[in-house]
C-alpha cells in the first residue's frame, strides 16, 4: 500500500506490536490529518460539477444518450435504459448539484452517493461512450463512500480531530494505480518500439506555434513514448516522497497540460491534476493555507477511531482495482487487438484504431440475404466504437437478429464482415466471417470467433 509519511501520521500514539502483522494493524488505525480528504473532496466536486456543466452546455445528452435507437451495454447492465431527454438533463442536473454539494461538505456521504448513482447511471446507458476517466470517477466515487470525506474543510463546522491514516492511503493508492497501470499498458512493443500511436498523433500537431516543430522531429514520438511510460510508472512514487512532492506535482501538471494541448482527451487531464493533489500531506496544505493568509487549525493529535466495515469495504474495492486491470493476461492474443480485458484497465491512449464493419444476414428458410450497414441505425460514435470491438459487434448482431425477427424473419444468420487497423498496421479481419454470431453466447471469456492473428506492425 502506498502510504505517505505524513507528519501527523507519525504523531499517532504507538500501538503494541507483538507480531509482524501488528505493523499493518497499527498503520490501519493510525490517525492523520483530515484536511487531505477535505481538499480532495472540494477539488473532485468542483471538477465534476464543471464537467457536468460542460456536458449540459454542449448539449451532449441528446446525441449520446437520447438519440440512439439502440444502446450498447455492459455485461449485467443491459437493463439500464435512457430516460427521455428531459429526464437525462434532469439527471445531469442532479450530477451537477450533487457534485457541488459534495464539494461543500455537509452530508458529504449522502451527496456523494447521489452523485455516484446519477453519474454512473448516465455512463451505463451507452457503453460505446466508455472513457477511462468516466470509469475512474465512478470507481473512486464508490471508494470515497467508505471514507469520511466530510471530516474537514466544511464551512461552519470544525474539522475532525483526525481520520484513520488508511483513508488517505486508500485514495492515494487508487490514484496511484491509475498511473501505474497506465504505465504498464505502455510496456508494449507498439508503444516502446514502434512509438505507436504517437507516430500518428504527434506529426498532426506539427502546426502548433513555438513547439510544433519539436513534434515533427523524427525521434520525438519515441521520446514521448518512453518519457510517458516512465512518467506513468513512477509518478506515484515521486509524489509519495515528501521531499520530491512539489516537483513531482509540477511534472504531473506539466504532463497533463501537454496531453490536454496535444490530444482530444476531454476533461481527463484536469481530473488527474486534481486527483494527484491527494499526495500532499496535511502539513503541506496547512503551510500553503498560512501562506495564503488563512489560519488553519492545529494538526490533529488524537487517535482516530477505525471503522471495520469501512476498512473492509475499501480493501475489497481496492483489491478489485488491483486485479481487474490484470485480467487481460487470462486471454490469448493481444488485448489491443482483441479488446478482451481492455476496458477498466487504464489502457489510456495506447491505440489508434479504426474499422469498417458490415453484417451479412441470411434467412435459411427463404434463402434471402441482406447486408446491414451499422450507419443505418447507429450514431457515428456508436458505429466507430462498434467497428473494432468484438463484444459490441456481437451485441449489434443480436440486435440485427431481433430486427429481422420483428420483420417476420424468424431465424436469420448474422455474420460480421470486419476490417480493422490498429496503430498503423494494414487492415485485417477481426471477426471470423464464417461464424453465425446469433449462435454464440455472450461471454466474458475468450471469444473463439475473434481472429487473434495481429497483422505485422508498420
Amino acid at each position: 500500500m502506498l502510504r505517505a509519511r505524513s507528519g501527523s501520521a507519525r504523531r499517532a500514539p504507538p500501538l503494541p506490536s507483538p507480531r509482524p502483522v501488528g505493523r499493518w494493524a497499527q498503520a490501519a488505525i493510525a490517525s492523520t490529518d483530515p484536511i487531505v480528504l477535505g481538499v480532495f473532496r472540494i477539488g473532485f466536486g468542483l471538477v465534476m460539477a464543471a464537467s457536468a456543466l460542460r456536458f449540459i452546455l454542449l448539449g451532449w445528452a441528446g446525441p449520446l444518450y437520447a438519440d440512439p435507437t439502440f444502446h450498447f451495454t455492459y455485461p449485467g447492465f443491459g437493463w439500464v435504459r435512457p430516460l427521455p431527454l428531459w429526464g437525462l438533463y434532469a439527471a445531469l442536473g442532479v450530477v451537477l448539484v450533487s457534485a457541488l454539494a459534495f464539494a461543500w461538505g455537509r452530508a458529504a456521504r449522502l451527496w456523494l452517493a447521489v452523485f455516484v448513482v446519477s453519474f454512473t447511471y448516465l455512463e451505463l446507458i451507452e457503453a460505446a461512450t466508455y472513457l477511462n476517466h468516466y470509469y475512474f470517477v465512478s470507481a473512486i466515487g464508490v471508494l470515497m463512500l467508505t471514507l469520511p470525506m466530510g471530516a474537514a474543510l466544511v464551512p461552519g463546522r470544525a474539522n475532525a480531530a483526525s481520520v484513520p491514516a488508511w483513508t488517505v492511503s486508500a485514495l492515494r493508492l487508487h490514484v496511484g494505480l491509475v498511473y501505474v497501470f497506465a504505465g504498464i499498458a505502455k510496456l508494449h512493443a507498439d508503444w516502446l518500439i514502434d512509438a505507436m500511436p504517437l507516430r500518428i498523433w504527434l506529426p498532426a500537431r506539427g502546426g502548433l506555434p513555438l513547439v510544433g516543430p519539436l513534434f515533427d522531429l523524427d525521434w520525438m514520438p519515441w521520446a514521448f513514448a518512453w518519457g510517458g511510460a516512465l512518467f506513468d510508472l513512477t509518478i506515484p512514487f515521486w509524489l509519495s516522497v515528501r521531499r520530491w512532492r512539489p516537483w513531482a506535482y509540477v511534472a504531473a501538471v506539466a504532463f497533463h497540460a501537454v496531453t490536454y494541448a496535444l490530444f482530444n482527451i476531454g476533461v481527463f487531464p484536469f481530473v488527474m491534476m486534481i486527483a494527484a493533489l491527494v499526495f500532499f500531506d496535511g502539513d503541506q496544505w496547512r503551510t500553503l493555507g498560512r501562506r495564503l493568509g488563512g489560519s488553519p487549525q492545529r494538526p490533529p493529535r488524537s487517535p482516530a477511531r477505525p471503522s471495520r466495515w469501512a476498512l473492509g469495504s475499501a480493501v475489497v474495492l481496492l483489491t478489485i482495482q488491483l486485479t481487474l486491470p490484470l485480467r487481460h493476461w487470462l486471454y490469448p492474443g493481444d488485448r489491443l487487438w482483441t479488446e478482451e480485458g481492455y476496458r477498466f484497465a487504464w489502457h489510456v491512449m495506447v491505440t489508434e484504431k479504426t474499422g469498417t464493419t458490415s453484417f451479412d444476414v441470411r434467412d435459411p428458410a427463404s434463402g434471402q440475404s441482406w447486408t446491414v450497414l451499422p450507419s443505418d441505425d447507429l450514431t457515428a460514435i456508436q458505429e466507430m466504437a462498434m467497428s473494432y470491438q468484438p463484444d459490441f459487434i456481437w451485441q449489434y448482431a443480436q440486435h440485427i437478429e431481433q430486427r429481422f425477427r420483428d420483420a417476420g424473419h424468424a431465424d436469420v444468420e448474422v455474420r460480421a464482415d470486419t476490417y480493422v487497423s490498429l496503430n498503423g498496421r494494414p487492415g485485417a479481419p477481426l471477426i471470423d466471417p464464417s461464424v453465425d454470431l446469433t449462435q454464440v453466447p455472450r461471454s466474458i471469456g475468450p471469444k473463439p470467433w475473434v481472429l487473434r492473428d495481429l497483422p505485422a506492425s508498420p
Binding site: W60, P203, A254, A257, V361, G367, E383, M384
Partner: protein, 381 residues
C-alpha cells in the same frame, strides 16, 4: 518547514509557467500563421492545391456546364425538336458528370446549406414532378424553387429529358412540362452559382476556412478530417447505394433480399449510372493527387504511411484505378449488368468494398481521423 515553503512557492511558479505555456499553445492553436516544418508545409501545400486545383476549378466547371445546360433547355422549351432535345441531353450528361466530381466536397459548412441536396437528390420523385407540372399556376423560377429537392435538380431534369418512350412528344404536348423543365435547369444553374459563392473567398469563403483549418485530426474542424470523412461517406455510397442496391444487396429487412433491383440504379432514365460512378471516382482521385499538385498521397508520404510494402497513397490511387477499371469493364448499363453481367457487377461491388475499407480504415488510421462528425468528451478510452 522553510524548505517546504520555498518548494511550494517555486513549484507554484513553475506550474503557472507551464500552464501559461500550455494554454498559450492551445490558444494559438487556431491561429496558425505559416508552416513550421516540412511535413506541416506539405500539409498546407496540399490544402492550398486542393483548393486552387480541385475544389474551386471543379465548381467553376459545374457553373459553366450548368449554364450551358440551362441555355440548352431554353432552346428546347422554345423550340422542341429532336435536335434541341438531343442537345439538352448531351448537356445534361456533361453537367451531371461534372457534378459528380464534386460529390466528396459536401463538407459540413456546405452541407448545412443543403446546396448539394437542391442540385442532386436522387431518386427523383416522379409523382411529385407530375403533380407539379399538372398545375394551372404559372411555372417560373419561384414556382420551381418552391418544389421539394426530389422534384427538381439534375435527377428531376433527367426524368423530364429521358423518361418514357417519347420524351419529345410529352414535351411537345404540354407547355407546362416544357416550362417546368426549363426552370428546373435554370434552378440547377442558379443553385450552382449559389454553391460556388459559398466557396469563393469573396463570398462565403468556405475555401479560406478549408485551407486555414489546419489542425488536422485533433478536432472536428480539421480540413483533413472533414475530407477523409467525406471520402469515406462517398465510398460507402458508391458501394452500397449505387452498386449494391441495384444488385439486390438489400439493407433493410422489409426489402426483399437478394433479388436484383435494376430500377434502383442512379440515373435510371439516362442510363449513365456507370459514367456518374466513374466521375465520382475521378473526384476521389483528384483529392488523392491534388489535381496534379500536392495531394493526400504526398502528405501520406511525409507520414511514411505504408500498406503491404507500398506507400498508402499509391495503394489508394491504385485501388481507385482498379475500381474504375471494374466499372469500365461493364459493357452494358448497370441496370442490365446486375443481371446480364452479374460476375462483372460483383467484381465492381468487391473492388468498391476494398476502396471503402482502405479509406475508412487504413487512411483514417494513419491520419488519426475519427470517422464521425459528432464531438465527444475525449479519446482516453
Amino acid at each position: 518547514m522553510i524548505d517546504t515553503i520555498r518548494s511550494f512557492r517555486t513549484a507554484i511558479a513553475v506550474v503557472a509557467l507551464v500552464l501559461g505555456l500550455g494554454l498559450t499553445a492551445a490558444a494559438c492553436d487556431n491561429g496558425s500563421e505559416g508552416p513550421t516544418t516540412d511535413r506541416d508545409a506539405v500539409r498546407q501545400a496540399m490544402l492550398a492545391d486542393l483548393a486552387s486545383r480541385v475544389i474551386l476549378p471543379t465548381h467553376d466547371d459545374f457553373v459553366r456546364d450548368a449554364d450551358e445546360l440551362a441555355s440548352a433547355l431554353e432552346a428546347l422549351a422554345s423550340s422542341p425538336s429532336a435536335s434541341t432535345l438531343e442537345a439538352a441531353r448531351v448537356e445534361w450528361r456533361t453537367t451531371a458528370a461534372t457534378w459528380h466530381r464534386l460529390s466528396a466536397l459536401n463538407m459540413p459548412g456546405v452541407r448545412f446549406g443543403l446546396y448539394h441536396n437542391r442540385i442532386n437528390t436522387w431518386p427523383a420523385n416522379v409523382e411529385v414532378i407530375e403533380e407539379s407540372i399538372a398545375t394551372t399556376a404559372t411555372i417560373d423560377s419561384a414556382y420551381v424553387a418552391a418544389r421539394g429537392s426530389n422534384a427538381r435538380g439534375l435527377p428531376g431534369l433527367e426524368y423530364l429529358l429521358f423518361a418514357g418512350d417519347d420524351a419529345l412528344a410529352a414535351l411537345n404536348a404540354d407547355p407546362q412540362r416544357r416550362a417546368y423543365a426549363r426552370f428546373v435547369a435554370a434552378d440547377v444553374a442558379y443553385q450552382g452559382r449559389v454553391l460556388q459563392d459559398r466557396w469563393v473567398a469573396d463570398g462565403g469563403d468556405e475555401i479560406g476556412m478549408f485551407v486555414d483549418a489546419d489542425t488536422e485530426g485533433r478536432d472536428l474542424q480539421s480540413s483533413v478530417s472533414r475530407l477523409v470523412n467525406e471520402m469515406a461517406m462517398l465510398a460507402e455510397d458508391l458501394r452500397y447505394q449505387k452498386v449494391g442496391r441495384p444488385m439486390g444487396i438489400a439493407r433493410n429487412p422489409s426489402e426483399p433480399g437478394g433479388d436484383p433491383q435494376p430500377d434502383l440504379v442512379e440515373a435510371p432514365y439516362a442510363n449513365t449510372s456507370i459514367d456518374l460512378f466513374r466521375a465520382d471516382l475521378a473526384g476521389l482521385r483528384a483529392l488523392m493527387t491534388g489535381g496534379g499538385g500536392t495531394g493526400l498521397d504526398d502528405y501520406l508520404v511525409t507520414l511514411e504511411a505504408e500498406l503491404d510494402g507500398q506507400p498508402l497513397g499509391a495503394a489508394l490511387i491504385g485501388q481507385i484505378d482498379r475500381t474504375d477499371a471494374a466499372a469500365a469493364s461493364l459493357t452494358v448499363p448497370l441496370r442490365s449488368a446486375v443481371t446480364d453481367q452479374r460476375g462483372a457487377a460483383e467484381t465492381l461491388y468487391e473492388e468498391t468494398g476494398t476502396l471503402l475499407r482502405l479509406i475508412k480504415t487504413d487512411l483514417a488510421n494513419w491520419l488519426g481521423v475519427s470517422i464521425t462528425f459528432s464531438d465527444n468528451d475525449g479519446d482516453s478510452r
